[in-house]
């Protein structure tokens, strides 16, 4: 039954693709219906895991809930390629999150895409995406995961370039596809290596899977280059793939550009689900990443994950401070938050990272849908400096957006982002390798509060600075916002220090409620610190931007203070330009060299050979016409002439023949007589 969860939306997508573009209602019904069914099945699967888990806890078993279905896909020689799906707490919670957030965004899209003529195509791609993403989640084979991963990449390309008439959208789609491809090549290398070493790509196979202890011990004894074990090297390769998909530095460049797509796409793919696939992948192969951990509990692979994550978190947050496009601010915020998740995975294990992933999925989807509502209400205006005062024009959007913003900032106690971000900060504080990631992440939190407040101040406060006045969005768009806002607040409570249900759920342990959870050493101090940081960020931003309504053309408050730093941030640290000057310039040069080689060298050789052959053909034709044909014709002529000559002898007169005969006899007789005489 588990396979039906991803299969339903994919089948729906196939059917929609066969429909005419005008069949709007049917295509929407198919997309939403199939995803609802997937959600229902996911909830059943989730409940199943819950029941199994409580059963295992009651008999005090140390095992975790895990059900796998495996089958052989291809057999060649003695080796099999197996595929399969797995149901464990991690996949169960991801299934529910993806199908639930996906469904809300589908419903929202009904309103947002109402005026678009390619309505059915949109829902076709969205369904395909949802199915492939659910496939990534339930895959029990690295290969199956990779296949779904690539479908996700494809639909991402299709949806970013949905408005392909816009050159920017087409370019962004291409950029996203190519950038993630760089990561995917490393990922594929990792897969092949893993298969070569362990002979299986299944994650779990009753002790024989590739990330279970037998295979891991094999991988740990295999040395690779630079003092890494095979496990560490494969882990790093897989992380490269995850970094591409999850927009980690230095492969983050595609994610902000991906905002050229329709806003529901940005919400679904580039905030809530697809970018989470990379984080999920790391969580899924966590045993591999953590294999051979030393006493400190960390490995080379996890250390790399942590540093990349922490650096990305600060780097992207800095850029977000200086952006003016409402969706780009959120996009850099997403990159930054994905950095938090990666750092959380690297330092604290699956539960910490995935908890932030789940809460982030809800509040970032909320923020994107809110931004979509704002853009919709402001007649496709995306520049925050041309907005303002929307809190009275769009009160419901403002309310939900504010909740999302506070959750993202990590506003204390009440919002989910606070608890999940605190979890990451807590493990960073205790990380044995270095303290720097902790300070980086705290600084990132300050920046997050700052840029979100700046954005909200620009959009919702002050007075209206745009053209046509704004209007509130339709109900079909507001309802999903409300539901997401509800979860953006409440979801945090399943992972507080006092009631760490989420972590216990993933680890397969019982979770009890105890206030003493807050009494761990340093925890209260940490919470106080992060509270202070958040208030500092919000306060600073409010002081600079609150209720000011500057003219859209006037320089930013920070730009006045530090123009040079501002230009660096505004231009995203010139990473795009750097790539343009190095990688892309190199490829351009290389393409020109290839072109020259093709035209001059290889083309010349080909032309020379062709010339040679045509010369040979000319000689051949000369020989044919003059020697062969001429000889034959001459021979025929000679035969005709000869026949004519000989035919004169054939007079038809019998007596002539007889005379010749008689003369011949006489001559013969004369020869005989003459020879016998001698």
């Amino acid at each position: 039954m588990l396979w039906l969860i991803p299969a339903m939306p994919i089948i729906a997508s196939g059917i929609i693709s066969l429909l005419k573009q005008q069949r709007r209602i049917l295509s929407v019904a198919l997309a939403i219906g199939s995803l609802s069914f997937s959600l229902l099945l996911s909830l059943i699967a989730f409940a199943h895991v819950m029941i199994e888990r409580s059963f295992l806890i009651n008999i005090d078993s140390n095992q975790s809930v895990r059900e796998v279905v495996n089958f052989t896909w291809i057999q060649f020689g003695t080796s099999n390629v197996d595929l399969g799906w797995v149901l464990d707490p991690l996949s169960a919670i991801m299934l529910v999150m993806v199908s639930f957030v996906g469904l809300l965004i589908f419903i929202y899209s009904v309103g947002y895409m109402k005026h678009d003529e390619n309505y059915a195509r949109f829902f076709c791609f969205m369904s395909l995406f949802a199915g492939a993403m659910l496939g990534v989640v339930i895959a029990n084979s690295l290969l199956l995961l990779f296949m779904c991963w690539e479908i996700v990449g494809l639909t991402s390309y299709l949806l970013i370039g949905f408005w392909y008439q816009k050159p920017a959208a087409a370019a962004a789609a291409k950029k996203a596809f190519l950038t993630t491809r760089i990561g995917d090549i490393f990922f594929l290398l990792g897969i092949v290596w893993l298969f070569a070493q362990t002979g299986t790509l299944l994650f779990y196979n009753h002790g024989a899977g590739s990330i279970e202890s037998t295979s891991l011990s094999v991988l740990l004894t295999q040395p690779a280059a630079l003092g890494l074990t095979a496990a560490g090297a494969i882990g790093l390769l897989i992380f490269a793939g995850a970094a591409g998909k999850s927009g980690q530095f230095p492969l983050h460049v595609w994610l902000p550009d991906a905002m050229e797509g329709p806003t529901p796409v940005s919400a679904l793919i580039h905030a809530a689900t697809m970018v989470a696939a990379g984080v999920y992948l790391i969580a899924r192969v966590y045993p591999l990443m953590a294999a051979g951990a030393l006493a400190g509990g960390t490995t080379t692979a996890l250390t790399v994950v942590t540093w990349v994550g922490a650096f990305t978190a600060v780097f992207a947050a800095l850029i977000a401070v200086a952006q003016n496009d409402i969706k780009r601010i959120l996009a850099y915020s997403t990159v930054s938050q994905l950095g938090y998740m990666m750092a959380g995975l690297g330092m604290g294990g699956v539960a910490v990272g995935i908890f932030h992933l789940i809460t982030h999925a809800f509040f970032k989807a909320l923020l994107f849908l809110g931004a979509g509502s704002v853009i919709h209400g402001c007649n496709e205006e995306q520049n925050v400096r041309r907005m303002g005062g929307l809190k009275s024009d769009m009160p419901l959007t403002f309310l939900t957006y504010a909740i999302g913003m506070l959750a993202l900032c990590g506003f204390p106690l009440l919002f989910s982002g606070f608890w999940s971000k605190d979890g990451i900060l807590e493990v960073a504080q205790h990380w044995s390798v270095a303290k720097a990631p902790f300070y980086m992440l705290v600084f990132g939190a300050l920046l997050t509060a700052f840029y979100m407040t700046r954005q909200v101040a620009y959009v919702f406060f002050g007075h209206w600075r745009g053209g046509k006045s704004a209007h509130e969005s339709p109900t079909v768009m507001l309802v999903p916002l409300g539901i997401l806002a509800f979860f953006a607040i409440t979801l945090g409570f399943i992972g507080t220090p006092a009631w760490p249900w989420f972590r216990a759920f993933l680890d397969g342990k019982a979770a009890g409620f105890a206030w003493s959870g807050f009494m761990e050493p340093g925890l209260l101090a940490l919470m106080a610190t992060s509270t202070v940081v958040v208030f500092l960020g919000i306060g600073l931003a409010w002081k600079l931007y609150g209720d000011r309504s500057p003219k859209p053309t006037a320089p930013d408050e920070l730009e006045k203070a530090a123009p040079l730093a501002w230009s660096w941030l505004r231009d995203k640290f010139y990473v795009d330009e750097l790539y343009g000057m190095t990688v892309i310039a190199f490829y351009g040069w290389w393409a020109r060299v290839s072109n020259w080689l093709d035209r001059r060298v290889w083309g010349g050789v080909v032309a020379g050979v062709a010339l040679l052959f045509s010369l040979g053909a000319r000689v051949n034709r000369f020989l044919d016409t003059n020697v062969v044909d001429g000889g034959f014709d001459k021979g025929c002529e000679e035969l005709t002439v000869g026949g004519g000559l000989l035919s004169r002898v054939q007079t038809g007169r019998v007596q002539t023949y007889l005379r010749i005969l008689a003369l011949a006899v006489v001559a013969l007789a004369a020869i005989l007589i003459w020879s016998s005489r001698a």
Binding site: R648, V649, T651, G652, R653, V654, Q655, R659, A662
Partner: protein
């Protein structure tokens, strides 16, 4: 002069007369008659060589001559038949007019 030489001389004369007739006459029937003379000259030679040869008691030479005469008769019948057919077709027996087989 031995009797054999006399016979051979007669046969040679007879052959020459036949050949001359076959070569000079223009009438097809007369040419056929010439050919018959040449054949009979050959038969006379066969008989003479048999009678004065090493085994005159065996009948081989005579048998040879009789066969030759029978073949000559059949040949004459075929030749005369052809001449009659040509005459019916072309109203002539002149050999010089019968040159339709020329190359």
């Amino acid at each position: 002069m031995t009797p054999l030489a006399g016979y051979l001389l007669v046969a040679a004369l007879l052959f020459s007369i036949g050949l001359a007739g076959a070569l000079t006459r223009r009438n097809a029937i007369l040419v056929l008659i010439g050919i018959e003379l040449m054949l009979n000259a050959a038969n006379l030679n066969l008989i003479a060589f048999w009678r004065y040869g090493p085994h005159p008691e065996a009948l081989t030479g005579m048998m040879f001559a009789i066969f030759s005469i029978a073949v000559a008769a059949a040949e004459a019948a075929v030749g005369l038949g052809l001449v009659i057919q040509i005459h019916r077709h072309a109203k002539t027996t002149d050999l010089d007019a019968m040159n339709r087989m020329k190359g």
